[in-house]
């Protein structure tokens, strides 16, 4: 039964990888973005259906790091370097947001 579930998962993943995750048809570099978009969909699933509050905070933290890679690939495709600026600012803001959410989860004051 467990082997059947593994085979089913591998078949679904290979179908998704063969059809480029059904998101966008374009050049080869731009198709890599589809994988990150699909991963962001999984992260949003954990944000919506997470059982506890800590799951949602973890998901927001991971989402910030994924967006950095997404913006870097978009900048590589258009050959513009200002996307990297947006990625750096996004990363730092995501870090501060994660620390603030952790303090709220621990029920401490923000200036503690």
């Amino acid at each position: 039964m467990k082997i059947f579930r593994w085979i089913l998962g591998i078949i679904i993943l290979s179908i998704l990888a063969y059809f480029n995750f059904f998101v966008y048809e374009g050049e080869i570099i731009f198709k890599l973005i589809n994988v990150i978009l699909f991963a962001s969909l999984f992260v949003l699933y954990r944000v919506i259906f997470g059982p506890s509050a800590a799951d949602r905070i973890v998901s927001i933290d991971i989402f910030g790091v994924l967006i950095i890679g997404l913006l870097a690939i978009i900048g590589l495709f258009y050959d513009e370097s200002f996307y990297m600026d947006i990625a750096l600012i996004w990363g730092l803001m995501s870090f501060i947001a994660s620390l603030a959410f952790a303090k709220i989860l621990e029920r401490r004051h923000l200036d503690d």
Partner: protein, 112 residues
């Protein structure tokens, strides 16, 4: 030529790390397991993407911004993960049923 092969290889490996890390975020049973799977894997995946972009672009402003992004991610992401796991343990979120040992709670009992 060989620079493009190494750069795109690093980008592909990084995207694969991102995707499997997010798959671990969806599949694993516990907050701490999810944090442990997703944070390391997604951090190294995005670091691989940015390192590949630095190898492709060379020493122009895009490449230096990619190096700066690697430094920011490797400083901020483990810090945020540590803060979130500490706050989750302090706010009494339960561990999984199959957990063998919880040394942080044992240390707190020994202090008191």
């Amino acid at each position: 030529m060989i620079r493009e092969i190494i750069g795109y290889g690093l980008i592909y490996i990084g995207i694969a790390f991102d995707f499997f890390g997010v798959l671990g975020l969806v599949r694993l049973p516990d907050v701490y397991n999810r944090l442990q799977a997703a944070t390391k894997s997604v951090t190294f995946g995005t670091g691989g993407i940015l390192l590949g972009i630095f190898i492709l672009q060379g020493f122009n402003n895009f490449g230096f911004k990619a190096i700066l992004g690697i430094i920011f991610i490797f400083l901020t992401s483990p810090t945020a993960a540590h803060a979130i796991s500490h706050a989750a343990h302090r706010s009494n979120i339960k561990l999984d049923e199959k957990t063998v040992v919880d040394q942080y709670a044992e240390d707190n009992e020994n202090k008191e």
